[in-house]
Amino acid sequence: MDGNVEDFTETDKSERAANMAEMIKVDCRNIDVFYDDKQAIFDISLAIQDRAVTSFIGPSGCGKSTFLRCMNRMNDTIESAKVTGKIFMDGADINDHSIDPVLLRSRVGMVFQKPNPFPKSIYDNIAYGPRIHGLAGSKSELDEIVESSLRKAGLWDEVKDRLPAPGTGLSGGQQQRLCIARAIAVSPEVILMDEPCSALDPIATARIEELIDELRERYCIVIVTHSMQQAARVSQRTAFFHLGKLVEYGDTERIFTNPEDTRTQDYITGRFG
């Protein structure tokens, strides 16, 4: 898959744009999610494009995080949660018995709302994933992965002199970028971000948004956000959720300028004031 990334970055941008429509990375079909008896997601079908940023917006409690968690099977770790429906990644059913959720999660990285670095050194934070997946054969290879991940996350220059320092000692924004670097380090294909900027100040947010824009070149990114501006700025596709249902899904530009559903319109305009 690394090879693919390299290939792709070298291809012509216009060609890429032309291919956009066919490049479906994750295809979710008829997803229902139940917490015990309470249904949180109602029959959502949604296809996510590769090498693009898809944003999920919607009022609090509408099921954005729940739906996001379906894509790397993090709902498996919630005892009361039950997911039905099918999700295909590159055509393979991720809920199939033959797919190990642990392996799936190495292909689908996740960044959480609150920065959650391991209480270990900056280096170990990044190196942990590659280590457990055996991605590095030697110490120097591992060093390389750590450096390139930190570079991609735009954190390298800030931390290169203090890699052995604890990751929890960084600022909130730096911690979040560390978490992104950690997710990148296992060379995932999809990165899920659940409100990655909600705990950050505008400058750190801008930094992360920039980063997301850069990462789009190589990864399929899904971001949950409460900020309309953010969704408009960073994403190419936007999905609007309401009460566990997918109300509208389409190109970001169209959703924000010309929403089809009144609920979408209300939500967007309400936010803008």
Binding site: M74, R105, M110, V111, N116, H133, A185
Partner: protein
Amino acid sequence: MNSPVPPSSEQGTFVTDAALKRLKKRHAAESRFKLYGQLAIGIAIVALVTLLASIFMQASSAFTRHVLTFDTTLEASYVTPEGERDPEKIARNVSGFNLLLQDELSDQFLPEDPGLSLQRELYGLFTRLAVLPLARKTADTPSNIGTQQSFSVALADDIDLYLKGGITRRKAVNLGQAGAVSGSMDDGFNITLGKAEPLQSALDKFREDEATPTALIQIGSTWFRMTGLDGNTASLEYIAGTPQAPVSGADVSGLALEQAQDNRTVTDRQIAWTMLLEDEGRVKSVPNTTLFTNSDSTYPELAGTAAAIVGSLLTMLVCAMLAIPVGIFAAVYLEEFAVKNRVTDLIEVNINNLAAVPSIVFGLLGAAVFINFMGLPRSVPLVGGLVLGLLVLPTVIIASRAALKSVPPSIRTAALGVGASKTQAVFHHVLPLAAPGILTGSIIGMARALGETAPLLLIGMVAFVAEVPDSPTDESTVLPVLIYKWSTGAERAWEPQTAAAIIVLLVFLVLMNLIAIILRRRFERRW
């Protein structure tokens, strides 16, 4: 957000009467609560200080003891009665070494034909086994036999206690110089004292307390018992020391004792002899190392905690090896892996209840299962450790679960998010973070086990153990049981001895807590 609209008088200001009143009430409540808290802490501190002070005061006398040093030739006829220089036989030849000591004493203090009761009185300054260290020392270097050697032996507990100020109250007084002297060695003497007043008032003071006081009189190196005091004239009866009549002009000193000798465990003569030895500088107070080097004994002055300390350590080792790994794995499983259902709920409730089961029940269980059913030997640290391990297991589980629970869930999701398996998430991230809490809980559990007595009594760890155990399957006892046993000893000297053993136990507990604190700091600092 519809907070009640304040009455117009209060609007826009805090300084209304009603508001002030409320404020005052609130402050009063706050300072009242603070006071309660300080009071509670005060009570706790006072209780602790009283406890420690009383133990240390009682124990203080056990940390030193009095020994007699004496030089003697190690006569082969005494030391090796059968002529063999077999170290084992020499080490066990207690009576031979006793004779050596007794000869030494009689030479100094007894007349030609003393009679049995006088001999017994003198020899009673030492217990039979006091010479055991001498015998062992000689057995180690048999080449010393026949040469002049210097030894020290422990005085018997009662006289030791007397020297430490116990047994009876006393007051030493100066009685000036002897005046006229009349009488004879056999019929007693009447002497005129330079000043009898201090002695009289000391005796009167003791009489006020309903005691039957007596007085001993020392003139030079001769001791008398005072049989009567009439004005300045005292009637004296020779008891010990150089048999010499008092001469007028000699310095006289007196020792008023609260109790006459019928009412105490040391006799007048024993006191006099000991004072004479002390004047010679041969009775000295030395640090009581016996307390740590010796094992249990029927004589308090020879009893030590060595065997119990080792027994406690071995028991703790077994206990820790059972309780800590099992406790941690059980906690990890219950907290991280087990599905929450009726069965796990039931297990949880049972574990919590188990932690509250009286420890003696675990003793019964141990006796029934380990000794009767599995046929393990009685009185051994192995069984003691297993019983205590079961006893503290629930504590370790509960503490470990609390520690695991306090690890933020975000760490787990972070680990799972980068593709770690559940086991990896737990062992790489959750456990290290919970380690300080788990360690603290485990060590506190161990500390509880260290202080447990009841269950160990039931599995026979109360046996008299004179040998330091060297494996968990050797008969042994533990510190708290030793304390219990010593506290039931009849002789007065067991009292300070018991307190001293309690201090040894407390030192161990403090050490364990210290280790807990240090480990916690170490682990916490790493992140």
